[in-house]
């Protein structure tokens, strides 16, 4: 069973609001593989800070609009 990261994200929602941007298109614009976007969306992989910022830049939002870390 895959271990999930505690970091949650809104990438799927943001893609939907960005004219239903495909995972492949987001991957191309960020410079990663589509599998990495899938893994990030599913919470199976925590991206580097650089990739996280690149994703936020693609959607023209702040980092915390894309990724959230739960406060206990």
């Amino acid at each position: 069973m895959a271990k999930s990261t505690p970091i949650t994200n809104e990438i799927r929602t943001l893609r939907f609001h960005a004219e239903e941007m495909t995972q492949a298109e987001l991957a191309r614009r960020v410079g990663v593989t589509r599998q990495t976007i899938i893994a990030i969306e599913q919470g199976k992989y925590s991206p580097s800070l650089e990739v996280a910022f690149k994703i936020a830049l693609v959607f023209k939002v702040n980092l915390d609009a894309v990724f959230q870390y739960p406060v206990e």
């Binding site: 069973m1 191309r28 990663v32 599998q35 990495t36 199976k44 991206p47």
Partner: protein, 144 residues
């Protein structure tokens, strides 16, 4: 669908299991039945390496062909996730290989038959490679 490098790791794991399994099936029964100098293992070891390399080449070609559309889609071959999986797998494989080399060295120092040192190195190297690829696959799946 997994990426090219993830499929490559699966191919390496499959090739290793096939080659090592074939070798062990051929050699282990002989070791348990006959004296060491009558055991036929050098030819089998060469064949196992050839089987491993042939399986690897076939799977690389297959993975590359099936990955062509994926590459066209995003235009990226590998990224930080691949590098993280490589680093983690290589580290585990390295530890296993160090242990193998140490055991083989001890067998030589203690003047065991060269059969044991050679087979420890061969089987250990294959298992270290298998550990490395399995850790990479588990990392891709987000299980490590």
């Amino acid at each position: 669908m997994p990426g090219f490098l993830e499929r490559m790791n699966r191919a390496v794991a499959l090739g290793t299991i096939l080659a090592l399994g074939w070798y062990l099936i051929r050699v282990v029964p002989q070791v348990t039945s006959w004296p060491l100098d009558e055991v036929s293992w050098k030819g089998e070891m060469v064949i196992a390496v050839v089987v491993f390399v042939a399986t690897l080449i076939a799977d690389i070609v297959r993975a590359a062909i099936s990955n062509r559309n994926e590459l066209d889609e995003a235009g990226v071959v590998d990224d930080e996730r691949d590098h993280a999986a490589e680093r983690r797998g290589d580290a585990w494989g390295g530890h296993a290989m160090h242990g193998t080399a140490f055991v083989a060295l001890m067998l030589l120092v203690l003047e065991f038959d060269p059969f044991w040192a050679a087979n420890t190195l061969f089987v250990g190297a294959m298992l270290a490679g298998l550990v490395s690829t399995l850790v990479k696959i588990l990392t891709y799946r987000g299980s490590v």
